[in-house]
Structures are given as structure tokens and as C-alpha cells.
Amino acid sequence: MPPSKLAKFSRTPSAGVIDWSRPGGWMLFAMAVAALVLVPVAITFSAFAHVEGDILAHLTEFVLPELLANTGWLVLGVGIGVSVLGVSLAWLVAMCEFPGRRLFDWALLLPLALPAYVTAFVAIGLLDFTGPLQTALREAFGPIRLPEIRSRGGVILVMTLALYPYVYLIARNAFATQGAIALEAAQSLGLSRRQGFFRVALPMARPWIAAGLMLALMETLADFGTMAIFNYDTFTTAIYKAWYSLFSLPAAAQLASILILFVLVAVIFEQRSRMQMRYGTVGRSAASRRIKLSPVLAGLSLLYAGGVLVVAFIIPVSQLALWARDVVANDLDSRYWAFAWHSLLLAGMGALMVAAVALLLAYAGRQRPGQAMVWIQRLATIGYAFPGAVLAVGLFIPVAWLDNVLIDTGRDWFGFEGSEILKGTLLVMLLAYLVRFLAVGFGPIDSGLHRITRNIDEAARNLGTGTAGLLTRVHLPMLRASLLTAAALTFVDIMKEMPITLMTRPFGWDTLAVRVFEMTSEGEWERAALPSLAIVIAGIIPIILLSWRGTQSHG
């Protein structure tokens, strides 16, 4: 769910007092949304209440050690990779002047449009022993071998290339707003530029970098598609296997709850960093004071930034296009359009639902401001941190239980014959989308609502406008752009989403992402390219939105 999550960094808590004796409708609504997030978490943890001994023994003996090692290496490698790549690129673009800087400023965000699983299968398709690169090398130079791409290093490389923009985007904004001032202050106190960077600018930007890093690591922990393609066992793939191969819901839930523990650590770090992001942002832009690089350094910068862009975006997209061209004649049939239609329909429904709930949740904060409401909103939007595989399990279990209750009641009272009522519907899937992507929609709407000050409301009322007029003549027109942004971002995230869709879709609801999964699990890279390309094209929308908002706020 890439760039969208970043949109919510502009929240400001409002002050006030809550009257707990009369919580009121708005408060109850906000609490209900928060409960929707907490239920799947509680359910997954409750799986430890009735342990199936042999499965748990199997898990702890054979599965867990490998999962922990794999996850540990992955988090470490991706963490280092995205930090180095993200911070260095952010510093270059925000603080230095070199040819192409203005282009890279937004172009370096483009890899966000590629879901990691797409980069993954393109990398394998290209770099595998039988892939075009190695084949060409062999033909030219005889029997040489490149390092195996299907390896731990390969996963880390792909995830780094897919996720560095999180760190890049947030760090770039931090440097752009306070980097120049920090550097000048440091230099006026006798530090060299280099010392100024390491002793002032970098430490000042640390909360931002940490927040971006944590988002990238949450995505790493949540990733399912890439891990499946690389056959690299982590918690998400293990949950999926427990679900489909072992048919053990408790095992899946137990694995999910361990994964939640990891995620919570990341959440705590992220929230802490965000609270520290309070340094005053002095000055508007570093534009006039960018460091003039020497021709050699400028050339190296161009090579570096350009190289990242080529490897992380241009090559994968070009390869996708080539593959897609090969198969388009055969594959662009009615089945493809059905996948696309399902994707559009699900993403559309999800986006509308997320935007509506996010609007109400943001409005609740306006109607009942206060510290308590800020916490409830924070809880309600924490779902972005939970991997889709976890949410699928955590929401399927209670819905299945409810289903059984309904079926029993239906049979006893009405003679109902059937095995599922809710399970066979889109309910679980849509609820999981709502939980996972509510933050994506809430961010822009909440910050949009904060721009409508109390004085704006009072001005309208002084001019004779009642509550209904306030909504239709002031609030909705002023929020239109925010609502559109929220819906568009959510739409794209759902288009890309893989594990929730895969695990909870009703029969016959295959989407583009599901098609990508199926084709890649059979190693048919060319045929996975066509649905991937559609997803990538949709994914470019939020990047345009994001860089447009960026240029607006940086004047």
C-alpha cells in the first residue's frame, strides 16, 4: 500500500475534554471502528487458548526456527538497504545540485508503482540461469555463472529496490525543510560540510528516517507475493500454507500472532518517531542554497540516481512490456477482462467504503475533540501495520463462527439447508480491506478537515448558514480534493493487494493480482506480465498525486 500511507503525516491532534458520561454517537462510532481493528488481533491471539498439540510441535520444531531466521535476515538486510539507498538519494536530491535533479525528485518515487512481487518475478525471469542475461553471457563468454538470484540476497535486493522510496520520500521532505538551515548553522559554528551532515543534519532527520524505515519494514513483514515467488519462507507464506495445505486455522492464527508481535515492535518505533517529528520547520525551501557539486561528483550523482531508477523501475517495466507484447494476442481474452473487472469492482467498492468510514471517523474527531478521541482514531487506523495474511485469518474466524451460528439458527427455525451464508460473500474481504487501508483514506481526509478551521464554520454561521448548509456549501466542497485523493489511493492499494484477496475471495472472484500469483507460481513470467502491467499503470496514479501535493506544499 505504498505512497498513500505517507499521506497521513500531517495530522495534528486537537485538544479538548471528553465527557465520558455521555459518549454520544460520534464517540461510539469511532470506538466501533477501533474495535473492528482490535477484533482480528484478539482472535489470532486467542488461538493459543486451544492448542492442537501435534501441529504446534511440528511448527516449533520444523517451521519456526527457519521462519525466524529468514525473517530476521530479511528485516536486517532490507532495513540496511532501504536506509542507505533512501537517505543517500534524499540528500542528493534535496541538498545538492546536479544534472537531472528535478527529474529525479519525483522519478525516484516511481518504483512505488511496482508491487514488490512484480519486481520479484521480473528479476527472476531476467537473471535466472535460463534467463536472457545469463544466456547471453554464456553465449558470449562461455560457461560463467552469476550469483543465484533465488536466494536470501536476491529477496533482500528486490525488497530494497521496491521499498526504498518510503525512506527516500520522508527523508527528502525532512532535508528539504530543515537541511539547509541545519547545515548553515553547523558551518557557521565551524563544522565542515561533511561534519555538518553527520553531526547535525542526519541526527535532526532521524525521526523522519526512522518513520520511513519502519513503514518499509512493515511492508517487508507483510509481504506475501515476493516471498511466494522466491519460495522464501516467512510468516506470511507459512500462514498461507497452514491455511491451504494443513487446513489448520489454529496453526495459521498462531503463526499470525507471532507475526503481530514483530509488527507491534515496528509500530511502537514508528509512532515514537512520529511524535519526535516536531522540530520546527524553518525556512521554506533549500532551493537557493543547494550544494554545487564539482563536475566529477555531479556526474557520479547522476550515474548513481539514474542507476537506481533504471534498475528499480525502467528495466522491470520495459521487461513487463516486452513480455506482455508476446502474450497479448493469446491472453487478452474474456478471462483477462473478467480479472480486470473484478479488480476494478473490488477496488472501487473498497475505496468507496474506506472513504466513507474515514470521513465519518475524521468527522467524529471534529465533533468530539480531545485526547481520548485522538487515541481512538490512532487505534482505528493502525490496521495498515497488520499484514494482509493476518487480517484474513483474524477476520475469517469470527465470520465463520457467526456463519455457523446463523446456519444453526436457520436450520432449527426455518429448515435452512446450506453450509455457508456470510463466508461465501465478499464480507470478510471487504472488512479486511477496510481495516488494512483505513489509514490510507483517513490521512488525506483528516488533514483536509483540519484545514477547515473553527473560524470557517463560525463565519458561515454568522452569514446565516445552518448545519445542512454548512455541510453542503462549505465542508463538502472544501473536502472534495481530499476525498478524491483518499479514494484514489485506496483504490490502487486494493488493486495491488495480494494475500487478503487470495485467501478470502469467494469462488469465481479472481482478480489481476490473483492471476499474477497463479501465473508466477507456475513460473510463467510472460503471462504474469500482462495483469502486472495493468496494476503498475494504476499504481502510477498515487505517485502523480503525491508529487503534485509535494510541489504544492513546497511552493
Binding site: 463565519a459 446565516g464 466542497p477
Partner: protein, 354 residues
């Protein structure tokens, strides 16, 4: 336009009294001003009048009609009270013309159009009708806010720190302009500010507020020359208090000599006569009450000086160690520490009991 009356209005929040026993009458068509330091309750008073805060006692009347009483208030949107906010609160999604026309929904299209045109001309923004608020300068936004508030012909206009976001030069020019515009629309207006220059430039009546109470409701002239208490004397204008002793009901003696004039020392209920005679008071000396005179035998030491262009404002140390201020033409340039001759030029006496 209508008369505004506040009749011992009180308001408190979480056991803290924000405004207490607030009473004043602003005549129809007059411009009034609530002046006071931040936190004195003046903005709360404004919000009570505009209908966004309830009152806990007393009554607010606009044009003779009660609009706020304890336990009841007329909804803000039905009060016909216009408000100009400190941050202007213009609607960012509407053009200048649509902002100004926002409150004219019930008028015909042509009626609305002509009123909008009229107001934009009045505030000097006729050419900016189709622009959006963010395309305007601060001063222009301010005038749009005023035009928007005036458009529905409210009975009363309220302005909350209307010039605080503008730079000093613009502030002075605009306050004169706003006064003219309000006069031309013949609107009753109440302005809240912490800046006495603004208050004096705009208002017919000024209420100095402190700790939720009106200390004095008077004309600017009287506030300066006849402050009702120490707070007003200190807050309005510059000056120093010098100790003195009352000789009789028209003479008071301070260390620089005897001042003649009406001694407005209030008597407490007990023993009026004894109290006045030989009573210890503090006498207010404005900077223009002490005149520099090289021939005078009265000497004071220059302790500090501030160059004001045409004048110096000297802080003087009197022989007893008390301090006083004196405004002196700037060709009399004396060094700090120098002793200069002074004489009194007090035409009326302001004294407060100790």
C-alpha cells in the same frame, strides 16, 4: 445597525471566571472597542455576542431584542451579526465575489450581484472579483472579510484582532480605511484588540478590559487623560506614578512641587474628609507633563533615553530615586547620567489612593 447592550454578563469555563459582570452600551452606528492584554476575556465577550458562547448570567441585547440570556441563546445564524475573524476565515474554495455573496443566498441574483459589486467597490477590490483568496495579499484578504461580513447588512459587526496579521504600516492605513467603510455603511461595530493605537484610531468608545472585567468604558480621550484606575493608567499610554500627599481638595504635593487642580481621589465610605486631607496618593505623570528647561533649578538624572525622531523619551531619576518619563525635543541631546533641568506642566491631576 442597532444598539448593542451588555447587561452584567458573566461567563466561566471549568470554574474559571472568563468574563465577570460585563456591562456597556454601544450606541447605534458607533464604533466600540474592547481593549486589553491577551487572556483578559475580550475574545470570549465577542463570542458571547456573536452567539457561539452561552452566558451564565446577565443579558445581551441587540437593537432592544434580547439575544442571550442564561440558559437560552438565539442561534448564531439568526442573529444577523457579522464577524471578521483574526485569520479572516475566507472560504478557500470560493472566489472573492462568491465569498462576499455567501450570506446573500436569499436575495435575487441581480440583488446579490449589485450588493457584491457595491461592497467590492467600497473596499477597493472591484477588479478582484474572480480571484481566489490565496491569490490576494493579507490586506486584501482582510478587506474581503470585511466586505463579506457587511454584505448581508448585519445589525452589528464584530471584529476580532482584525489587523494583527498585518505589518505595522499596513495596519495603520487599513484601520483608517476600515473606519471610513464602517462609517459609510453606518454600521454599529465592536472591535477587539490589544493594540491601543488601533483602538484609538478606530473607536468612538473604548472599554479597557482586565481579568474579565471592564475597567473603564469611555472615549479614547478620557481613557488617556482621566483613567479610572491604576490598571487603565498603566495600560493606556505611557507614564509613571510618583508618590504625593494631598494638601486639600484641589492641591497635591509631590517632590517636584505642588500640583493644582481638581483632586479626583475617591473617598471610601468611612470618614471622607480626613481621608482626603493628608492622604497619600500616587500621581500619574505622563511624559508630556514634565518639560525640559535648562534654566530650571529642579534637576533629574537621565537614566535612559529612546530616540523617537522628533523627540527623545527620557527616563529620569528624580532626587528621591523615583522614576518619571519626559518627552523632549530631540535637539536637546543629553548623555545618560547627565543631570538636566525640568519643570512641571500638569494641566489636570490624576491621582490614585495608596
Amino acid at each position: 445597525m442597532a444598539e448593542l447592550v451588555l447587561d452584567s454578563v458573566s461567563q466561566s469555563y471549568a470554574q474559571r471566571q472568563i468574563i465577570a459582570d460585563l456591562s456597556f452600551t454601544l450606541p447605534q452606528g458607533a464604533i466600540g472597542c474592547l481593549l486589553g492584554p491577551s487572556g483578559c476575556g475580550k475574545t470570549t465577550a465577542l463570542r458571547c455576542i456573536s452567539g457561539f458562547e452561552p452566558v451564565q448570567s446577565g443579558e445581551i441585547r441587540i437593537g432592544g431584542e434580547a439575544v442571550s440570556r442564561p440558559g437560552w441563546m438565539l442561534a448564531a445564524e439568526r442573529r444577523r451579526v457579522g464577524m471578521v475573524f483574526q485569520d479572516y476565515a475566507l472560504f478557500p474554495h470560493l472566489s472573492v465575489a462568491d465569498n462576499v455573496g455567501f450570506g446573500l443566498r436569499h436575495e435575487s441574483r441581480t440583488g446579490r450581484q449589485s450588493r457584491v459589486d457595491e461592497l467590492l467597490r467600497l473596499v477597493g477590490l472591484a477588479g478582484h472579483a474572480d480571484q481566489f483568496p490565496h491569490q490576494l495579499s493579507g490586506g486584501q484578504q482582510q478587506r474581503v472579510a470585511l466586505a463579506r461580513a457587511l454584505a448581508p447588512r448585519p445589525r452589528l459587526i464584530l471584529m476580532d484582532e482584525p489587523f494583527s496579521n498585518l505589518d505595522v504600516e499596513l495596519r495603520e492605513r487599513l484601520s483608517v480605511e476600515v473606519r471610513d467603510i464602517l462609517r459609510r455603511e453606518a454600521t454599529t461595530a465592536l472591535i477587539v484588540t490589544h493594540d491601543q493605537h488601533e483602538a484609538f484610531a478606530l473607536a468612538d468608545w473604548v472599554g479597557v478590559m482586565h481579568e474579565g472585567r471592564i475597567q473603564q468604558w469611555d472615549t479614547p480621550y478620557n481613557l488617556y487623560h482621566e483613567p479610572a484606575n491604576r490598571f487603565v493608567a498603566d495600560f493606556v499610554g505611557q507614564g509613571a506614578l510618583v508618590s504625593g500627599e494631598v494638601i486639600n481638595d484641589h492641591q497635591v504635593e509631590i517632590e517636584l512641587g505642588v500640583l493644582n487642580g481638581h483632586i479626583p481621589v475617591e473617598c471610601d465610605a468611612s470618614g471622607c474628609d480626613e481621608c482626603v486631607r493628608s492622604c497619600h496618593v500616587d500621581v500619574l505623570l505622563r511624559p508630556d507633563d514634565i518639560v525640559h528647561d535648562d534654566d530650571s533649578l529642579l534637576l533629574a538624572e537621565v537614566e535612559n533615553k529612546a530616540f523617537r525622531g522628533a523627540e527623545f523619551l527620557y527616563t529620569l531619576k528624580l532626587p528621591s530615586g523615583q522614576r518619571a518619563l519626559s518627552l523632549v525635543p530631540s535637539h536637546h541631546n543629553h548623555a545618560i547620567g547627565e543631570k538636566i533641568g525640568i519643570k512641571l506642566a500638569v494641566d489636570h491631576v490624576v491621582a490614585f489612593r495608596r
